[in-house]
Symmetry: C2
Subunit: 356 residues, 2 copies
């Protein structure tokens, strides 16, 4: 039989409460007795209070649930996601809290079960394409929630840590149009989720994935402000946020007579792929074609990528802190962090011959 609190209590002839206190409230009993209890526990192979029972009673689990879309490999592969999770984990770990990675399967019923069964004190929702049904369930769990992307995704009761995606993208776009570029292509991931990387015609106001939507709208803001009609911009869907997809997507902007002179990407990863595509074609970034990314991941610097630097780790860390130490003032539970435009060598003046 597995040892329980009672086992130890009986062994020493003390009460359960006392044994419990030995673990949870060391100041409530004499050090001497506590030492005896602990050593008896060791001797009997008692690992300490059963975590589940403790949680049931105390109402605390010491875990944050992190909802991840289907293949959570992405969470481990995408540099932005990795940075975010790292920040989140740091905040959690500092409070002896762990992360419960919840991998939502494709099957909706199974996904609901995963959420319902998750023993957590709070949920962190980031990188949420569209799990409407999941959101509702999360809400009914009644635990604190922090949103990592779309500030509207959950309603005002959720904490939020993000950036102004649209304004940031607009700054990139302005940088590009100010350099004289008018033949612009936009490479964006998950515009449509049919898994195909190709040019698409989509209304920026009608994109499903919030982050991409905002960034594309920001690009459009800049284009329109410079008198470039949106119809003139070539929009390319990248099936995934991966370097290879970026390279593939770039083909649709480069291998045509009216080649784009600037390619705006919704992420650094895609932009690195675009740079690969340029290299293959003997084109020089910043001279022949300008390229921008988004995020400022570590690899961006070496690649000389012009991009938006955003505090990815900080986003995760703050998310964790809001969940575990929510500030009194509700206003402080909704944070929009600053970003900065980092101009490097992949962008330069438009040198292409003027077209009609």
């Amino acid at each position: 039989m597995k040892a329980t609190l009672q086992t130890i209590a009986d062994e020493l002839g003390v009460s359960r409460s006392t044994v419990s206190n030995a673990y949870s409230r060391p100041d409530q009993l004499s050090p001497e007795l506590r030492a005896r209890i602990l050593s008896a526990a060791q001797r009997l192979g008692y690992a300490g209070p059963n975590p589940t029972a403790r949680s049931l009673r105390s109402g605390k689990v010491n875990a944050i649930g992190v909802l991840l879309t289907d293949n959570l490999s992405m969470a481990f592969t995408d540099p932005y996601a990795v940075a975010y999770l790292r920040g989140l984990a740091e905040a959690a770990s500092a409070r002896e809290t762990s992360l419960l990675l919840l991998n939502l399967p494709k099957d909706e019923a199974a996904g609901r079960r995963v959420i319902s069964n998750a023993a957590v004190d709070a949920f962190c929702l980031y990188c949420v394409p569209d799990w409407h049904s999941a959101l509702e369930l999360v809400r009914s769990r009644g635990v604190p929630v922090v949103i990592g992307e779309d500030p509207q995704a959950f309603g005002p009761e959720a904490s939020y840590v993000g950036i102004d995606e649209r304004a940031a993208a607009r700054r990139l776009g302005e940088h590009i149009v100010n350099l004289g570029h008018r033949d612009i292509a936009v490479v964006a991931h998950w515009i449509v989720d049919d898994g195909v990387t190709t040019q698409v015609h989509a209304d920026p106001d009608d994109l499903r994935y919030y982050v991409t939507g905002e960034r594309v709208r920001g690009f459009r803001d800049a284009a329109l402000a410079a008198g470039v009609p949106w119809e003139r911009v070539v929009l390319i869907n990248a099936a995934g946020n991966q370097r290879e997809e970026g390279a593939q997507a770039a083909a649709h902007a480069l291998d045509r007579l009216d080649r784009a002179t600037a390619i705006l990407c919704t992420s650094d990863v895609l932009a690195l792929g675009v740079l690969d595509a340029l290299r293959v074609r003997g084109l020089q970034a910043g001279r022949d074609v300008s390229v921008t990314g988004f995020d400022d991941i570590p690899e961006a610097e070496a690649a000389g990528l012009t991009t938006i630097r955003q505090p990815s780790v900080e986003r995760g860390r703050l998310a964790g802190e809001l969940l575990l130490d929510p500030p009194e003032d509700p206003a402080l539970r909704r944070l929009t962090l600053p970003v900065s435009l980092v101009v490097r060598s992949t962008t330069g003046p438009n040198t292409a011959k003027e077209k009609s």
Copy 2:
């Protein structure tokens, strides 16, 4: 007040058991009643049975605890670790089980608390430098354990999925000596953990970190078999398993008169760093200096790295399966997976002038 099973039961005038069955045993009640219960639950904002209470009663948590050393950023950054976790997550997800990431803080008491408090059905231990005290606690938890690296780390009651690290390294070493190399450097991570990347003199039989130890011993096996005394091999400690450390480490092998003609690394990541270092110095890998890695991470192919291919994702997946569906036969709970030598362009014949 939060809704519970009882709330729903009272609302409908049925018993708790029936409501419970509606969730856990749909076949135990009429579909019609079940539908009424579910809709009442929805209406009252009941998210389903409380996971903690359910776990306490049923003894199952649907979570695997993954022990990670101090900064779990590594788990998200190291390509091998990422692959392993992905496999583990796949296996878990297929069984509606989640991963609880347990970040062991430096403080030992805190670490013990984290382990004691973890509500999990099983533990996965991989990448375990030395948490002796943690191991003992994990054992006393009395749940299934799978070991990811050192088959001896826990005793025979633990499942194990690994590779023959030493034999694999030996094959790399043999490849190198067969190419005529005699001036060999070994770049290994965590030989000593003083955080310094520099040449060290360490007894391969006496290394703390199992994986590095075995790989270095494998290299030594090959050297000795070819008549190269171990004293002639330059051993360099990389402070961490990161590309930059590899580059730094390489300096100690390259920037000296008796430059090594071959550099064996304990990981692909380090090897990529070594290749960086060669490039900076105008040396060509495979011609001027041969370089080998270990793991065959995705980037290895593009870099033309000669390495050992090991089934990283599979290791994780099998670990998860052993934990969740342990085979009857204990022999099947200890798996040593095959690896293969992948020869690419970073290794070539020794072309250096013979030395005395």
